[in-house]
Structures are given as C-alpha cells and as structure tokens.
C-alpha cells in the first residue's frame, strides 16, 4: 500500500519509490514509498520484524531492493555500492573498530577523501569537539563508557559529511537517564550540521521526541506517515492508534452525522456519542471508537458534555504527577483514564477512590473514529 505523503512541491531530497525486499518467500519490505526533505529528522518506527532495519540497510546499500527505486538528491542509487554512497550509518552496536583509538575511528572514513593530513587532523579535532570527546582521543573503544562510544560512532559517521545519516536504534543501548540527555544532544548536533537523519527505532517515545516526521511500519508496510502530532492525534488505523501511546477502543457503528460531528452507536458506552467526523465512513458501517486516557475527564457531578457516562472506579494507580484510573462501566467495559494530580495533598488530590461512582466525559474532538 503506497500512501501519499505530505511532501512539498519541490523535488524531495530522498525519494523511496515502491521499494520491496524479499528474502526467499518472506517479504520483509512491501512496496514502500516515501520522501524525506533535506535537513529533516525522519523516523522509521515499528516493532521488531516490521522491515524498518531492512529498509535502512537498503538505503546504506547493504541490501539491494527486489523491486522499486531509491533516489538520493536526484541520483538513482540502484547498483551503487555501500562504499560509493554519500550515506553513512551509525550501527546499533556502534561497530567501533576495537584495535583503533577514538581519533583513528573518527578519522577512518577520511582516508578516502582528497585531503591533506593537516586537513584530516583538523576535521577529526572538529568532530571530537562536536561530541565533546577531545580528551579521549587516544583511548581505545573498550576504555570508554557506553555513552561515549555512542558519540564516537556518531562522530565517525558524520566526519565525511554525508548527505544522509542512518541511525539504527541510536539510543537502545543506553540507560534511561543517558537516553534522555542524548536525545537532545542528537537533535542539537543535527541542527548544527544540517545533515538529514533517518532514525530507525522501536521506541515510540524516542521517535516522537526526535523526529520531525514519523513513518509507522508494520509487517513490511508503511501504515502512516506524519508529524508526531498527526500520528498521535489523528491515527488512521487501529494499529497506529494502539502502537503510539495507550488508548481505549470500543466497537461502534456509525449512526449518522450531526452538524460537524459523526454520531456513533457505542454499546459499551451505553448509547450514542458524538465524534470527530472522518471522511469516507457511511451510515451503518462498523467502526472502532478510540479515546486516549488523558482525553477523558473525570467528575463527581454529571458534566455538560454530550459524551458522558457514569461508571465506578475499579482500580487506581498513583504515579506522582498523575494517576491512572480503571473505570468499570455499566456495560461491563473497562476504560482507562489519566488524571493529572494538579493539587497537592494526601487523599485530597484524588478525584475519586476505589468503588466511587464517577462520571466520565470527553470532547467530541477527542473521540477518534477508525474505519480500519
């Protein structure tokens, strides 16, 4: 399935056109088309085996597409060997050369550039400075920490000033604290160098914070391409909606349209509710109604909202900044709701306690109707 995407009118920097890759009878990547603009951070997001790494390896030249073409800066990359591509990769394992020092690792690709030794040394120094590893230049990879190794890998991939930098799970090997810090560092280095980044990740949070645009992949197919906000707020399928963030979904049936809204029959919520209109759905069609936990309002009194239902608190978990409620509806359905703990206090902060009756409501704009 080829999806149209939100590129601008000008010729895109990277164009992937109907690319497929089969290993025997297994289709790892199936007819993927997408474009990436110059200077963008683009994320390929998906679970393991979704084809994101295979797509990345085709961009690097390690795999040839079975079908389709890849254009980089107007040049067809078919048959171009990895060593001839202006594309560099930061490997998930970093793949630093264990027998070379940090400086030698960073300077490795520069051997193939027409540069004097002084120019080469200057570039290595510049790169060491960029990733703040100047004092570690003489160390071997096994003598530095994991976070430092990650930065050496980044500097090595950037040293030859590639047109495209491919990052394979760049933060997966780092611990949580370091990961957050490194995310911002990656973004700032991307801004300073202006190199186009393609990041492969299975971590939706990483994709959301790093990327300008995300392609969500599943079973070799791109399911949706868009900015993090578009993907989160306007998912186009149940797969995307449930892959990004948590969501509660119900079976529903379209009952008609009322003004700008869609009226859907949701048995689990005990009646009709109003939702954001989606083009293409018709009356009587079976759809899915999905609501994100943080879009649900919890109140003691019946709210004004057109979408309101009374339930009982079945379970609650306190996370500090917010609490997660699991609410049982009269229909037997369970709904998850996040409530921010704005007020400070012991018990007073909670909207409701175990077994309390509570009203759930949500804005029609927050109710997502998914046909797929």
């Amino acid at each position: 399935m080829a999806l149209p995407d939100a590129g601008t009118g000008a010729a895109p920097f990277l164009r992937i056109e109907g690319v497929s890759k089969s290993f025997g009878s297994f289709k790892a990547v199936n007819d993927v088309s997408l474009t990436v603009e110059k200077g963008e951070i683009f994320a390929l997001l998906g679970g393991s085996g979704c084809g994101k790494t295979t797509l990345l390896r085709m961009l690097a030249g390690f795999e040839e597409p079975t079908a389709g073409r890849i254009f980089l800066d107007g040049r067809d990359m078919a048959g171009v060997q990895p060593w001839d591509r202006p594309v560099h990769m930061m490997f998930q394992s970093y793949a630093l050369f264990p027998h070379m020092t940090v400086a030698k690792n960073i300077g490795y690709g520069l051997k193939h550039e027409k540069m004097t030794k002084a120019e080469r040394d200057a570039r290595v120094r510049e790169m060491l400075d960029l990733v703040q590893l100047t004092q570690f230049a003489g160390r071997k990879p096994h003598q530095i920490s994991g976070g430092q190794r990650q930065r050496v890998a980044l500097a090595r991939a950037l040293a030859r000033q590639p047109k495209l930098l491919l990052l394979d799970e760049p933060l997966a090997a780092l611990d949580k604290k370091l990961r957050e810090h490194t995310q911002f560092e990656l973004m700032s280095i991307q801004q300073r160098t202006g190199v186009t980044f393609i990041v492969v990740t299975h971590d939706q949070e990483e994709a959301m914070t790093l990327a300008d645009r995300i392609a969500v992949m599943d079973k070799g197919v791109v399911r949706q391409i868009g900015s993090p906000t578009e993907i989160y707020e306007f998912p186009n399928s149940r797969f995307v909606a449930s892959f990004i963030g948590s969501i509660t979904s119900f079976e529903a049936k379209v009952a008609g349209r009322e003004g700008a809204h869609l009226v859907v029959d949701v048995p689990a919520l005990g009646g009709r509710i109003l939702a954001r209109d989606v083009p293409g759905v018709v009356e009587g069609q079976a759809v899915t109604l999905a609501v994100r936990p943080e879009k649900l309002n919890l109140t003691k009194e019946r709210p004004e909202s057109p979408n309101a239902v009374e339930g009982m608190v079945k379970d609650l978990a306190y996370f500090g900044k917010d609490s997660l409620y699991r609410i049982a509806l009269p229909s037997g359905a369970l709904v998850q709701a996040h409530a921010v703990n704005a007020r400070r206090g012991m018990e007073a902060a909670r909207v409701a306690d175990w077994d309390d009756k509570i009203w759930l409501s949500f804005d029609p704009g927050s109710a997502i109707v998914l046909a797929d």
């Binding site: 690097a60 030249g61 390690f62 060997q81 990895p82 060593w83 001839d84 594309v87 560099h88 990769m89 490997f91 394992s93 793949a95 630093l96 050369f97 264990p98 027998h99 490795y108 690709g109 051997k111 193939h112 071997k140 096994h142 090595r156 991939a157 030859r160």
Partner: protein
C-alpha cells in the same frame, strides 16, 4: 539447661562436617584447589622435572659407564664443553639454521595457504562449515608415518606424479633443460612440502577460531565509511586476527623446527636438521651430554620468542 540448642542463631555458619582437618579443608576450598592444582602438578612432573634432568645431563661428562654420564669424581662436576661445541662447531650452527629456515618457510607457507582457508570456513554457509572443518581434521585419522610414506612415493623418481611434473616441465622449458625426472626427494624442498602438508591444520584451526569471533558489522561499518572489500580486509579483518596468526605460527614453527621424522625420511642427509642431530648424538654416538645441550639450546630458541610475545600481549593490556 537444654535451652541453647533450640535458640541457635539461624545465621550462624553451618556446622563443619564431622571429621579431621582434611575433610574441613575439602569443604572450604579443596575441590577448586584440586582442579586448579591438577594441571600444575602435571606440568611439574611431566615437563619441568624432565627438563631439569635434561639440563643436568647437558652439563655432565660422557663416560663409558651405563648410563654413559657422570658428574664429579674423576670428571668435573659441571662440564660446559658440550655448549662450547654447539656454539663453535659449524655443523651444529648450520643445523640450527636449516631447522629455523625450513620451519620458517613452512610456517609462512602454512599462513598463506591456511589464512584463505580459515576465512573461507568462516564465510561459508553454516551448514557447510562443520563438513569443511571435518575435512581439515580428517588427515589425522590416517597414520602420520603412512602419509609421509605416501609423499615419498609421490615424489620418487619413478612415480606417476613425478612423471607428470617432469612432462609438464619438459613441455614448458627449452630442450636443453629437459630432465628425465625432477629431483624432489632428499631435499629441503621435500622437507618443507611435507611439513606444510602435515602442519597446515595447526595453522587453520587457531586462525579459524580467531576469525570466527570477529563481528561482521565491523566489516559493514568499514564499507559504509568508503572502504572496498580488499581494504576492509586489510584495515579491519587482518589486524584483528593477529593473535590467531601468532598462535597458528607458533603451533607450526615450534614442532617443525624440532621435527625428526620428516627430515629423516625425505630430507637431505648432508644438511641435517636439529632433531636429527639430537637423535644421532643420543642413540648413535651415545653422547648424552651433547644431545642434551642441543636440546636445551633448541628450547631456548623456542622459548625466547614465546616469552617476548606474551610480554607484548600483557602490555597490550587485554585489548585483544
């Protein structure tokens, strides 16, 4: 009162086993000591003690008694004469040189033949790998002597193999250079050929072990950074396989330098290798001190480079 027995602290150490000091020692750390100590005792009894006996024999004096050596009494306690002869007599120095040359050439040839084979074993599909590894080891299933005799048959003047090579030679060279057969037997060429054949697996196996551990994403990283495959081999694969090259080199060089059977059977009797000299001095001349002195010198020749290597390894600080 019998109270204390029921109030015993649960965190107190377990009661030592009934029995003597030996049982307690066995419980505490005996098994690990025995396991670690085993190889040391083995080395002590079967290497160090015999070696010291050889050293002692090398400074004894040759007599006509049985055994034909003695220390002290009518002869000097320490007799350095065998060493002086080893270092001054051209025969022994030439034998050392021949041994080192033959073993060195065999080692280098084994490296050049074995490296591509080991690399092939690593790169081949895993389903083939075990079969090919098996084929490398397969010659060991046949008696070593039988294989040397087979080579003697092949290299001999009347063999079909020699005949084939002779025909090829006569076909290629001008008529004046034509020969009736190629003189392969009883030469250093024959010694090196058979040693390469015999010791090749000892080169391939450590090389395979060191190449097999290498991370192939490093090759991809080097390619990604602009290196063609030949360059990747030179920059990434080769430097990382140096420990394997050194291990394989030592496994070939050390036994080849002291080799007795191969040079005796196919070698040139007028330029003997050192193993042959030791054997002759010991069993034919019955000069045990001389044989021991040569053996000690040979060992020194082998041990010094090995120690230099481990010193260098230790200095590299476990960086592989």
């Amino acid at each position: 009162m019998a109270e204390p027995s029921t109030l015993r602290d649960a965190t107190a150490p377990v009661e030592p086993r009934q029995g003597g000091a030996f049982a307690r020692w066995l419980d505490r750390r005996g098994w690990s000591d025995i396991l670690i100590g085993g190889p040391y005792i083995w080395l002590l009894l079967l290497f160090l003690v015999p070696f010291l006996i050889v050293v002692a024999m090398s400074v004894a004096t040759k007599t006509s008694t049985a055994p034909p050596i003695s220390w002290g009494g009518e002869v000097p306690l320490l007799n350095w004469e065998p060493y002086q002869r080893v270092l001054s007599d051209g025969l022994y120095l030439r034998a050392f040189l021949t041994s080192v040359m033959n073993a060195g050439i065999a080692m280098i040839l084994c490296l050049f033949i074995g490296y591509p084979m080991a690399l092939g074993l690593v790169r081949v599909a895993p389903s083939w790998r075990n079969i090919l590894l098996m084929l490398v080891i397969l010659p060991f299933w046949t008696s070593f002597l039988l294989r040397v005799y087979a080579w003697m048959g092949l290299m001999g003047r009347n063999s079909w193999f020699n005949g084939m090579l002779t025909d090829a030679w006569n076909f290629l060279v001008p008529i004046d250079w034509a020969v009736r057969s190629i003189p392969m037997m009883n030469s250093n060429f024959a010694v090196v050929l058979v040693m390469v054949y015999t010791y090749l697996p000892f080169m391939i196996l450590p090389l395979y072990a060191s190449l097999e551990r290498l991370d192939t994403t490093l090759d991809e990283a080097a390619m990604d950074l602009g290196s063609r495959p030949a360059r990747v081999f030179w920059d990434v694969t080769l430097p990382q396989s140096v420990p394997g090259i050194i291990a394989g080199g030592m496994l070939v060089f050390i036994p080849a330098a002291g080799e007795l059977v191969i040079p005796s059977l196919v070698g040139n009797a007028s330029s003997p290798m050192i193993g042959r000299l030791i054997s002759d001095e010991f069993s034919m001349a019955r000069d045990w001190p001389m044989a021991s002195a040569i053996a000690v010198m040979l060992l020194l020749l082998m041990v010094v480079p090995t120690m230099l290597y481990s010193h260098y390894q230790a200095k590299a600080g476990g960086s592989k």
